[in-house]
């Protein structure tokens, strides 16, 4: 009996150790909360959930749309793993994505009628990564050399990138005759990422995202870069004694994060919109921060959480038409999930660390 109790206690302890457990509990709480909000606003909660499910996973084409959103979102989230590891808040993913898209469009505009579209695409991929990395590096230098908090540097650069893309769309790169929010001219069909038949999934994007996941997993776990990032993030003072240079690693993390975000921007141009539009980043940069926080900074959970978030995003598109509910419901669910998770996780941490020991 006693032994069974012990093993039971151990199981509970193991359960509490696992962030997935907290994600589950948060999901349940948020589910109840959202349902209550929905009932208060007069919408039937279960048809809402059903609609989200049907809107995202019921048919192959809908599933394709989910994957289409999953690719850039996951790419951005992977990039954030590097910066969070070294304790940097890279809030500038939006801007890095935009600049990536701009660089990609620039390359495509340079060689619109090349006989080797694959070459151009590769060049566009590469330069969009460079663009995103450069934009992130700018924030990184502002942090390490200019003493500007990375949050404000990143945020400021987001808005600058937004201004830049608007200027391009309304100015030098405007469609002949009309300049409008609908974006630049469509890029030549030869440079579109090919899609899996009857879906919106670009296989190239999918493969590269999995590659990025895999490489990042290895890099963070098995190389001195991953170990160095972690050590500096946890204790910059001691890392100095181990011969690590914090500012160098910070810049490195920004380059990785920015590069991946820039690449996501490129996928948006060549695989999704086929032109440059003002909202090319689709808010994925900010959403990716939520993904990573809810994944508890664990790369194994990132693709799953990212998939769930993409389902919510895609599934809620139909809500206004079918149920007259605003599609921002998905954002409300995502945000309150993260908030609840943060609270539960912190509560557990506070309760499990012993307080000052009283004298016997």
């Amino acid at each position: 009996m006693k032994r069974r109790m012990e093993s039971y206690g151990k199981m509970v302890q193991l359960l509490f150790m696992n962030p997935v457990f907290f994600i589950g509990i948060s999901l349940l709480l948020v589910f109840i909360m959202t349902s209550m909000v929905l009932i208060l606003t007069g919408a039937p909660p279960f048809s809402v959930y059903k609609q989200i499910f049907l809107g995202s996973l019921s048919t192959g084409s809908k599933f394709g749309h989910v994957i289409k959103a999953w690719i850039p979102l996951t790419l951005c989230a992977i990039g954030l793993l590097y910066t969070f590891r070294i304790n940097l808040w890279n809030i500038g993913v939006e801007g890095q994505m935009i600049i990536g898209a701009v660089f990609c469009t620039f390359i495509i505009r340079l060689f619109p009628n090349s006989p080797y579209p694959i070459m151009i695409l590769f060049l566009a991929f590469f330069s969009s990564m460079m663009g995103g990395a450069l934009w992130a590096l700018l924030a990184g230098f502002l942090k390490t050399k200019g003493g500007v908090n990375e949050i404000f540097a990143g945020l400021g650069l987001n808005f600058v990138a937004q201004g830049l893309i608007l200027w391009l769309i309304f100015g030098p790169w405007k469609r002949p005759g009309v300049a409008s929010m609908s974006g630049t001219e469509i890029i030549p069909k030869g440079l579109w990422l090919s899609l899996i038949e009857r879906t919106a999934i670009p296989p190239a994007g999918l493969i590269l995202t999995f590659l990025a996941l895999f490489v990042t997993y290895l890099l963070l776990k098995y190389t001195k870069i991953g170990l160095g990032l972690k050590a500096i993030g946890l204790n910059p003072k001691a890392s100095l004694l181990f011969g690590l240079k914090p500012s160098l690693y910070m810049l490195l993390a920004m380059v990785f994060g920015g590069g991946l975000a820039g690449f996501a921007g490129c996928i948006q141009v060549t695989g999704v919109y086929h032109r440059l539009i003002p909202s090319i980043s689709s808010n994925y940069g900010y959403l990716a921060l939520l993904v990573v926080m809810l994944s508890n900074y664990d790369i194994r959970l990132v693709p799953i959480v990212s998939f769930f978030f993409s389902c919510l995003n895609v599934g809620s598109i139909q809500l206004p038409m079918v149920l007259h509910i605003d599609s921002s419901l998905s954002g409300v669910i995502q945000g309150s999930l993260v908030l609840t998770f943060l609270a539960l996780h912190a509560l557990h941490r506070r309760l499990s660390t012993p307080k000052e020991i009283q004298p016997s």
Binding site: V37, T41, W89, I91, L142, G146, G147, V148, N149, I151, F152, A153, L155, G156, L157, F159, V160, Q162, G163, L166, W167, I169, F170, G171, Y286, L287, L289, L290, M293, P320, H324, I325, D326, S328, L329, S330, G331, V332, Q334, G335, S336, V338, L339, L342, A343, A346, L347, R349, R350
Partner: protein, 325 residues
């Protein structure tokens, strides 16, 4: 440009700055206590929605303002609560709240989109509004704008000249020292977090009840929260400089319309981006001005030294950190 249009421009600058001043001073008050409330952008939208929905359903503009300020205060309290009692980073919670509040506002406010609701009515002050030039520019607005004048003077006075203001600053600078003088830093942070949030809520209400009257998606006040956060830094956590920054931004915003006429190739959002590079630049200068080598170098260069001294202010020393005995 003749007198009349100059007057109109000045008048619209004054009016457009009003909600930003509420938001930026609200955030300044919160940050003075050592708490950084990053959720401003979402809070403003959520309170704008609240204000519109409440005053639409009740017909009372005042009730709209009141509920909006409560919402603003409540969101700020969440940040402080997470920071003090759960020890979660203020930045993380603030950021999540930014997105959540924004979406919540769009979600709840959706049925009220593009409806015609009550607005704050203009109320020119008798006699004063008849004064040449300044009458139209300063005294032909609505009551919220007048409250804003009083508000920034009062908040400046409160922070700089009263014992309570000193306690507020003390907690943000050195909570341990404050604690050793019998002040409870957590209590102060809860109070001023809430108070700051209340003013951010008023800023939101100002948008939906007169500046960009009505509710919709987009409402028109998106991004203002980030600008207010930037202006707090630009103003160096100093009420009067923050207010100057607000008017400067408002000037840029209003002039953007004219710039657009002069340079038709530039879309107006490009001009709205201007405060952000300015913010980054001022942050770099703040950092540089505290560098020993730069100080040494500029010792006998009066102009540069003057410039550096203007920028040589710093954030509350304990901003964003947690306090425990």
């Amino acid at each position: 440009m003749n007198d009349f249009s100059a007057m109109m421009i000045l008048s619209s600058i004054i009016a457009a700055a009003c909600p930003i001043i509420f938001a930026a001073i609200g955030e300044t008050i919160t940050e003075k206590s050592g708490v950084i409330n990053l959720s401003l952008d979402g809070t403003i939208l959520l309170s704008a929605m609240t204000a519109f929905v409440i005053s639409y359903s009740t017909g009372s503009v005042f009730l709209g303002f009141f509920m909006a300020s409560l919402v603003g205060g409540f969101v700020a309290l969440i940040v402080v609560f997470f920071s003090i009692y759960l020890r979660v980073s203020q930045v993380a919670v603030g950021f999540v709240l930014t997105l959540t509040c924004r979406d919540l506002a769009y979600f709840i406010g959706n049925p009220y989109s593009r409806l015609l609701g009550p607005q704050v009515q203009p109320l020119p002050i008798p006699f004063l509004s008849d004064l040449p030039f300044i009458g139209t520019a300063f005294f032909s607005h609505n009551v919220v704008v007048y409250v804003c004048y009083i508000f920034f003077f009062f908040s400046w006075f409160y922070i700089e000249k009263t014992p309570m203001g000193h306690i507020l600053k003390a907690v943000g600078e050195h909570p341990h020292a404050a604690y050793s003088r019998g002040i409870h830093p957590h209590r102060i942070q809860l109070i001023y977090g809430f108070v700051g949030g209340v003013f951010v809520g008023i800023a939101g209400a100002s948008y939906s009840l007169f500046m960009k009257a009505g509710w919709g998606r987009p409402q028109g006040c998106e991004g203002i929260g980030w600008i207010a956060l930037a202006l707090v830094i630009f103003g160096g956590w100093n009420i009067s400089r923050v207010v100057i920054g607000c008017y400067l931004f408002s000037f840029l915003q209003v002039m953007g319309i004219f710039f657009q006429q002069w340079f038709p190739t530039f879309p107006s959002p490009v001009f709205q981006v201007a405060p952000f590079p300015l913010m980054i630049f001022s942050l770099v200068i703040i950092h540089v001005s505290q560098n020993d080598k730069i100080r040494e170098w500029s010792k006998d260069k009066n102009v540069i030294l003057f410039f550096l001294n203007r920028f040589s202010h710093s954030a509350p020393a304990h901003l964003g950190k947690r306090f425990h005995v």
